[in-house]
C-alpha cells in the first residue's frame, strides 16, 4: 500500500516536470486528423454504459418477482457499451502508425520515446474533459452495479428475525396436509416432514424432519434424553451449511460397511447423525442440525416441548451465541 502511494506521487510529480520538456521535441507519430464525430460517439457510448450500469441497482431495488434477467440485461448492456466505446477509441481516435525500424535498445531514450508515443497518439482528442466525464460516469455506474449484490448478503444490524422460529412448547406437529402426527404412526426406517400447527410454513424455522430410531441406538447428550419420546427425534429441515432442505434419509442397513443412519442434504452432501443430536459426520456444514424437543400428549399426538436447540439455517455473525426464540 505504502509503495503504491509513493509510486503514485512520483508519477504525478514526474508528469508535471515532463510537460515543460515536451514542447520543443520532434514528433514521432504524425499528427492525426481530429475526429469530432468519433469523439462524440465515444462520449455517448460511455453515457449509455453509465445509464445501463445505473439501471442495475434500480432493478435490484425495485425487485420485480422472477425477473432476474433484467439484472443481467442491464449489466450486460453496460459492459457491451463500454466495450463498444473502447473499440471506437482504438479504431478511430488513437493515431496509429507502422514503424519500420526497431525501437532503440538504449533504455533512457526508449523510455522517453514511448512516453512521447503515448502522448502523441492521443492527439486527436480535442475534448478531453468530455471524454473524462463520460468515462467517469460509466466507471462509477459499473462500480456501483458490481457492489449492489452485496446487499443480498443479509442484514448486518438487525439479526433478530433470524433467531425467531414458530415453535413453542405445546405446539402440535402436522404434516403437509395439516394432519397432526400420531406418535404411534411414526415408523422406523423412513422419514417425515412436519410443520408447526397453524404457523407460516414458509418461515425458515418451520419445517422439521422427523425420524424414529430404536431407543437403544440413540446417543443424545444427557440434557436431551427426554427430547426423544419412543425414539422419535425431530431436527430442523434446513441445512446449516447453505440452507437447502434435508431431503435424504440414509436408512441404517445391515451391511457392516454402512453402520449409521444419516440425514443428508442433497446440495453438498452435508451428513448429520440423527442418533447423536444431529452432529455433522460428513460434508461442509459447520454446525449440528438444531434439534426440536418432542413430547407426546394425552391423545398420543406429537407436540413440541420447547424451541429448537440452535439457530436455523446457514451460519451468520454470532450464530452460536444466541438461542432461537418464539
Amino acid at each position: 500500500m505504502k509503495r503504491w502511494l509513493i509510486a503514485l506521487v512520483v508519477l504525478l510529480l514526474g508528469k508535471r516536470r515532463r510537460a515543460a520538456r515536451l514542447a520543443e521535441r520532434e514528433r514521432i507519430v504524425p499528427p492525426g486528423r481530429p475526429e469530432p464525430r468519433a469523439e462524440l460517439a465515444v462520449f455517448w457510448l460511455l453515457i449509455a454504459a453509465a445509464v445501463c450500469g445505473a439501471g442495475f441497482p434500480v432493478v435490484y431495488a425495485l425487485d420485480p418477482p422472477h425477473q432476474t434477467q433484467f439484472l443481467g440485461l442491464s449489466l450486460g448492456l453496460c459492459l457491451a457499451f463500454l466495450a463498444a466505446a473502447c473499440v471506437t477509441v482504438g479504431k478511430r481516435l488513437v493515431v496509429t502508425e507502422h514503424l519500420e525500424e526497431d525501437y532503440g535498445v538504449e533504455h533512457p531514450t526508449e523510455q522517453e520515446a514511448l512516453e512521447q508515443l503515448v502522448d502523441e497518439s492521443g492527439d486527436r482528442f480535442t475534448r478531453k474533459r468530455l471524454i473524462v466525464v463520460g468515462a467517469g460516469a460509466a466507471g462509477t455506474a459499473l462500480g456501483v452495479a458490481l457492489l449492489t449484490p452485496a446487499a443480498s448478503l443479509g442484514p448486518v444490524f438487525d439479526l433478530d428475525p433470524f433467531f425467531r422460529t414458530p415453535w413453542r412448547p405445546g405446539r402440535r406437529l402436522v404434516d403437509e396436509n395439516g394432519r397432526p402426527f400420531l406418535a404411534d404412526d411414526v415408523e422406523e426406517e423412513t422419514f417425515y416432514t412436519a410443520f408447526p400447527q397453524g404457523a407460516d410454513r414458509e418461515q425458515m424455522g418451520a419445517p422439521v424432519v422427523v425420524v424414529r430410531l430404536p431407543t437403544r441406538e440413540l446417543d443424545l447428550p444427557s440434557e436431551r434424553r427426554a427430547w426423544a419420546p419412543g425414539g422419535i427425534v425431530a431436527y430442523s429441515k434446513i441445512c446449516t451449511h447453505a440452507g437447502c432442505a434435508i431431503a435424504l434419509y440414509r436408512k441404517p442397513t445391515f451391511a457392516p460397511t454402512q453402520p449409521r443412519p444419516a440425514l443428508i442434504c442433497p446440495c453438498h452432501y452435508s451428513t448429520f447423525d440423527p442418533a447423536r443430536a444431529g452432529e455433522v459426520i460428513f460434508g461442509p456444514a459447520g454446525r449440528a442440525l438444531p434439534q426440536l424437543p418432542l413430547a407426546v400428549d394425552g391423545t398420543g399426538h406429537l407436540r413440541a416441548a420447547g424451541n429448537l436447540s440452535g439457530a436455523v439455517g446457514p451460519s451468520w455473525w454470532g450464530v452460536r451465541n444466541r438461542k432461537p426464540h418464539a
Binding site: A247, L248, R250, K251, Q258, Y269
Partner: protein, 259 residues
Amino acid sequence: MRHALLLAALALALPSLALADPPRAGIVHVQVPPGTPLKEYGYQLYGGNCVTCHGPGGRGIYSPRPGSGGQETLGPRLKGVGALAADFYLRTGYMPLSSAYVQPRRSRVLLSDREIRALVAYVASLGPGPAIPQPHPERGSLRDGLTLFTHDCAGCHQINGEGGYVTGGVAPPLEDATAVQIAEAIRTGPYLMPRFSEKQLGDGAVDSIIRYVQHTKHPTDPGGWAIGHIGPVPEGLVTWLIAMVALVATCLVIGRRHA
C-alpha cells in the same frame, strides 16, 4: 502344493462339466424331478445360492460386532419379508450378491423365471409377509406424482429419475424399473433407501409416483434442446462453448489492423 490342488480341482470339475449343461457364472442351478412343488424347488435353490448369508430357514446370519457388543448381520432375516421383497431383489438382479459388503446394484438376472418364482414361493412360505403388489399407474395422477416424487424421492433419484449419490451409497437411475419394481422398492426400501409404509404413502400415491416415473422416461420438453431434460443449465453450458467461439471471432475482428 498349489499345483497339486489345482490338478485335484480340475480332476473333480472335468467330469461334472462334461455331464451338466454349461453352468452360468456364480449361480447354483439344481435339477429336480418333474412335478416337484415350487416351494420345494425354491428350498433347494435357496440352499445353493442364499443360505451363506441369509442363514438356514431365512433366519439371517449374525456375527458379534467387535468393540460395541452389538450385533452385526451378514445377511438380514428373510422371515416375514414376504414375496414382495424376494421378487424385487431377484428380478432386479440385486440378489444373489457376490459379497455382503457391497451395495447391490441392478445387473443381469442370472436366474430363470421359474427359478425366481420358486425362490419367491419359498421365501414367502417362511412367514406371513406382503404379497407382490399390483400397481395401476394408469389410475394415478401425474400431477400428484410430481409432487410426491419431489417430496420423497427426488432428493436422491433426481427429479428426472436419473439417479444420484448419497454419502456412502448410490441411488440408482429408474430407467429400467418396471411399475411392479417401483412399487416394491417403495415398500421395502432396498439397501439404504427409506421404507414407505401404506400409512405414509397409500397405494393411490404409489400409482401416481409410478405414473410420474414412467413419464420421466419420455418427458415432454417445453422447448430448447432438452439436454438432460433438466432445464436450461446444460443448454447454457453448451451455449457458452458456442459463445466462446463467437467471442474469439469478435476479438479477431476488433484486433485487425487497417491497411
